[in-house]
Amino acid sequence: MYRSLFISSGFHLGIIILSIFTLPFIAKKPIDVPPLVSVELIEIGKITNIPFAPKAKKIIEKAKKKNEKLVSEQAPPKKVKKEKNKKVNLDINKEIKELAPKKTPTPKSEIKKIKKEKLDSIALPDKKTENVPLEEEKKQKPSKEIKKDKNLKKNTEKIKPNIEDAKVKQVSEFEKKELFDPNNIAALIDKSKEDFGETNKKLNKITQSQDSSMDFSKLTLSEEDALKAQIFGCWSIPLGLPYNENLLVRIKLKLKPDGTLIKTEILDHARMNMPGQGFFKVLAESALRAIQLCQPLKVPTSGYERWKELQLNFDAREMLGG
């Protein structure tokens, strides 16, 4: 008797609980879930395969220049940043002083100065642009500066009286007054080391996850495209080559960090002087000319160890319809 009571009450309870929990959901309409769209995230750096249109490039450069001017004229940079930069470069402080006025003159006067430096040769706009990254490199090279940091501690004591003299003499100079706090140099040097590492990483746009997952046997898509696009423009394919031959030349390059050439090597060099392979020589020479014409190559800004040796496979079959 009791058993049946328990069973029936249990069933009833179950039905009540089920109805409480399920009925409101049954009343609801099924949710329309949109189909999943897979999105592949590819990092496209400043250097992509499509070069800026010349007009657009000029406009962007102008805009950049304007921004720079605005910063220098209206809002002086934050004290902390300046301190970091200048204290790291204490040894080359004189260079900074010399460089500072060079930034202000108009482009025309810059060209004149370059002309004076190169007596016989006529200055090319390309050469001017080549110099720019070199200056940046000087600032960015961590190894040199870390070495200098060691010397800094030793030099600070020697520099102290000079700096104090300078303080007296150049009271009116706002920036220089703020620069040096000899008591905090050591601490700031340590900070600068850390900051430098951070800024360097930011510049290279490499996150920790990317760092670990980076394939060292390849360039990224955007890096490869940038290099390809550059060489496509430089390579004049010899149109007289026979269609049906093996039109592939492999060239190994040794590069400097700025993309200029140290050494080139044709991998199938033996074919150059083989009878009946005259076309190979012509093709190889055209490839070498393209590399010479393109240098400095548009190489990635980071990971020099990765690409200091590159192999370029020049394949004319596609172009010559073979």
Binding site: F216, E224, S236, R289
Partner: protein, 450 residues
């Protein structure tokens, strides 16, 4: 045991890492530009003594500049080179010939440089030239030629051939001549003469007087012999003409109408078509013993035969399928295969000296096309289209075609003209070749310096 396993694991790990760090990054460059190569042709230098002699003998003040102009023009006409303006040159010709300042030449964007020197030695003209790779800063080629002073234009052509071959990988076609039919007078009463000129349109010479009608002159690929068709008493005859000696002879009397004679690649036979018993077929004739051999035997009209460069095959056009199409057969007439299957009519097939292509004329919807196709008929490419154009002839390197083009006449029958044109295999570099009078039926010679 565990230690050994651990050790091997470590070793494998390191090996994998080493292999990873040593793998070289490869980048495939599959595209390039087809822009003409910027080249600087420095005027050839000359000393004062030689200058006076040149003035006396060939009445030219600056022979060095004249030869450089010939080279420059040839390179420009090829479409593969972009000769740079002399105004931009920074280095003097005589110093540049000794040792170029490569920075100066790369500054004006030159990738190759030609320098040279002309002088008189034992009353003969001696021309030296060097080809420099500006970007690699090294010499690529250096040669010298000696000839009679009046032959200076040919020296320019030979230098161009050498430069072209060194930079493109294929033989040049500049030291060649073109034979054609020079035309003048109203369309109904044309006076047609046989004429010959250099490939750049200079040194035109007339070989016949214009009394008889001349047609289809063709060069022997091995020497300076020409075969052509001339009407004598209203009957076409095949003639052989030696350009060097000027001697001319009738190749043979053939029954009925004879068409389109052409030499075999070894120059020992003439292949042609002639109508016998109302049926036109292809025949060959041995030049030495004059033995005629029949190649095709078909009730249709077979004409315009042309040998492959190895002499094993013949291409011709025939209407055996109902319409005029291009066929290929073995040199003995066996294994005839139709290779053209496109819309329209196909004619005048000519086998390329390189052996890979057949050039043809196509008529479709009232327009004439010059095109090329592979020897199996695939890969047909039409290079140029016009109101009327035909008779393509290959340059000896198989890269350029010459043909003639006629313009429309107005209602009064005026305004008609026929001119020679050249086009390269890309189809982009189309140029008119200047001739004194109207011109048709061109044929390109082989290289003279071979």
């Amino acid at each position: 045991m565990k230690i050994i396993k651990f050790f091997t694991f470590i070793c494998i790990f390191f090996l994998l890492n080493i292999s990873k760090s040593f793998s070289l990054i490869e980048v495939d460059i599959t595209r390039g530009n087809l822009n003409p190569l910027p080249i600087a042709v420095s005027p050839l230098s000359q000393d004062n003594k030689s200058k006076k002699i040149f003035q006396k003998k060939i009445s030219l003040d600056d022979l060095g500049s004249e030869i450089a102009a010939v080279i420059e023009n040839n390179l420009k006409q090829s479409g593969l080179f972009n000769p740079l303006s002399k105004d931009a040159f920074l280095q003097k010709p005589d110093i540049a010939h000794l040792k170029p300042r490569f920075e100066d030449w790369s500054l004006i964007k030159a990738q190759a440089l030609i320098t040279g020197k002309v002088l008189i030695e034992n009353d003969k003209l001696k021309v030296e030239f060097r080809l420099w790779d500006v970007l690699a800063a090294r010499e690529m080629l250096a040669l010298s030629f000696t000839t009679v002073p009046s032959n200076w234009r040919r020296v320019g052509h030979i230098i161009t051939d050498k430069v072209y071959e060194r930079l493109t990988g294929e033989k040049g076609y500049f030291d060649t001549r073109i034979i054609y039919v020079s035309e003048e007078g109203p369309k109904t009463q044309r006076i047609k003469k046989l004429a010959i000129m250099d490939q750049d349109g200079f040194n035109i010479k007339y070989l016949t007087l214009g009394n008889e009608l001349v047609l289809t002159p063709r060069f022997n690929p091995t020497n300076q012999m020409v075969t052509y068709l001339s009407y004598f008493r209203n009957l076409p005859r095949v003639y052989l003409l030696d350009i060097e000696t000027g001697t001319q002879e009738v190749a043979g009397d053939f029954p009925g109408m004879t068409f389109a004679p052409r030499f075999s690649p070894d120059g020992k036979k003439i292949i042609m078509s002639f109508a016998k018993d109302g049926n036109s077929d292809i025949y060959t004739m041995d030049i030495e013993n004059r033995i005629v051999e029949r190649i095709t035997n078909h009730p249709s009209i077979d004409t315009s035969p042309s040998y492959s460069p190895n002499g094993k095959f013949i291409t011709f056009n025939s209407d055996r399928s109902g319409f005029q199409q291009i066929y290929v057969m073995n040199s003995d007439g066996s294994n005839v295969k139709r290779i053209s299957f496109g819309k329209g009519l196909y004619g005048t097939p000519v086998w390329s000296p390189r052996g890979d292509l057949i050039a043809f004329t196509k008529l479709h919807k009232g327009k004439f096309y010059i095109g090329v196709m592979r020897t199996d008929g695939k890969g047909e490419r039409l290079l140029t289209e016009n109101f009327y154009q035909e008779a393509p002839s290959w340059a000896p390197n198989g890269r350029v075609l010459i043909f003639y083009r006629e313009t429309k006449t107005n209602d009064k029958g005026e305004g008609f003209s026929a001119k020679l044109w050249s086009i390269d295999l890309t189809g982009y570099n189309e140029r008119m070749i200047k001739t004194e009078k109207d011109a048709s039926d061109p044929s390109w010679s082989s290289l003279l310096s071979n």
